[in-house]
């Protein structure tokens, strides 16, 4: 049998176009109590395709913070542990050299700022 859209994952872009062009554009129109204006379906499809494509593309490029962020994944705990170990190591090295760890705050807040902006 041929390929069915049922079994195709939602993030497959050609399937996405198929579903959107049909669901948002077709079907019987009966006047409901709530009236909405949907933008031109072609424009909507392009916008949504770009949205989905950007997620796929990001993964391809190795940008997958949501799979490691502690809000999104248990794998993040391991990363956090590693982070702690590394900071421990830096502190030891700095102490040995007689310097202090004054830069740590700046670096950390940079990291946080990046995390927050990606989260949005």
């Amino acid at each position: 049998m041929a390929a069915y859209q049922h079994s195709t994952p939602m993030n497959n872009t050609s399937n996405l176009v198929d579903v959107l062009e049909t669901v948002l554009d077709k079907g019987v129109v009966i006047a409901g109590d709530i009236k909405i204006n949907l933008a031109d379906v072609e424009l909507l499809t392009i916008k949504i395709r770009l949205l989905v494509a950007s997620v796929d593309k990001a993964k391809e490029m190795g940008i997958d913070w949501w799979e490691h962020d502690s809000h999104y994944s248990s794998g993040a705990a391991r990363v956090q542990e590693e982070n702690e170990e590394l900071w421990q190591r830096i502190r030891q090295l700095e102490e040995r050299q007689g310097t202090n760890a004054g830069n740590r705050g700046t670096v950390l807040s940079d990291t946080n700022a990046k995390g927050e902006s990606t989260n949005e």
């Binding site: 041929a2 049922h6 050609s14 019987v28 409901g32 109590d33 709530i34 909405i36 072609e42 949205l51």
Partner: protein, 275 residues
């Protein structure tokens, strides 16, 4: 009913199904548009049952909903949910799919609205019974197609030989003309090929509609859509219909002219349910 008294609800309508079929099949509980609300059958009369779910008024009142449908992430999720519900219904029922975003404040309003169209809806149920929709899209890698055609068309071959004999200046313009000729000829051939496939599919279909071809920025593909057709077929002639498609797919692959045929289905009859 799980709607709280302090959280007024609206009624989202997915589809109509025949009440007779609704009574015959057991109803599988499934999540509605906004879980934990479930999908419910709302018997409008002894012939028509609406498939509905409750949605909170705070998110689905007209002004708020208008803003939400402009949020692509929100819209994508709900549009897919709408479609998934339709697919599940289509497995067990004759379905008249409604357009995404059909919402009523009260069941009475829907019942009144349906009374006007009762006979029409009945006719559509009869028309759509035991039928399904398939979508066929034909894509062409135009450069590959033209190259393949140039290699095979005798007229092109003859013109190429004539051009070679010309002076360099003339050769440039004549070559340009030949490219233009090839492009036009390719377009004509592609249309003829698509139409021939369409005719074959029509012979096994109950009804058909030729749709607009989508641009590459919509499809996200590298090849160009040259045919976009939907076909309403009887469910029991599905194998016959798909045999024709597979045969054409095989032929397209064997000729190596950059043509590919994409088939999706079975869909509920979105394109053939107009009242």
């Amino acid at each position: 009913m799980q709607i709280q008294s302090d959280s007024p609800a609206l009624i989202y309508v997915y589809a109509f199904i025949p009440t007779e079929e609704y009574d015959q099949h057991s109803w599988v509980e499934a999540d509605g548009m906004e879980p934990p609300q479930k999908i419910e059958g709302l018997r409008l009369n002894d012939m028509i049952t609406a498939v509905t779910c409750k949605v909170p008024e705070k998110d689905y009142s007209q002004d708020i909903l208008q803003k939400k449908v402009e949020d692509m992430e929100w819209l994508q999720g709900r549009a897919f949910h709408h479609h998934e519900v339709m697919n599940q219904l289509h497995e067990n029922f004759t379905v008249i799919p409604l357009k995404f975003g059909t919402i009523y404040e009260q069941a009475d309003h829907l019942t009144k609205r349906i009374t006007i169209d009762k006979e029409n809806i009945q006719k559509i149920f009869a028309y759509l019974s035991e039928k399904e929709e398939w979508n066929i899209k034909i894509y062409v890698e135009e450069e590959k197609y033209i190259k393949n055609m140039m290699d095979q068309e005798k007229e092109v071959e003859r013109k190429k030989e004539e051009i070679e004999k010309l002076s360099p200046g003339k050769r440039f313009f004549e070559k340009k003309k030949l490219d233009q000729f090839a492009e036009e000829k390719a377009k004509e051939n592609i249309q003829n090929t698509c139409r021939a496939i369409h005719e074959k599919l029509c012979a096994s279909s109950f009804n058909e509609e030729v749709k607009k071809n989508w641009e590459r920025k919509v499809t996200g593909r590298n090849d160009e859509m040259n045919w976009n057709g939907v076909y309403l077929i009887k469910t029991d002639s599905r194998d016959k219909f798909l045999d024709i498609v597979e045969n054409e797919q095989r032929k397209a692959e064997e000729t190596g002219a950059g043509i590919s045929i994409a088939v999706t289905g079975p869909w509920p009859a979105y394109h053939f349910s107009d009242m």
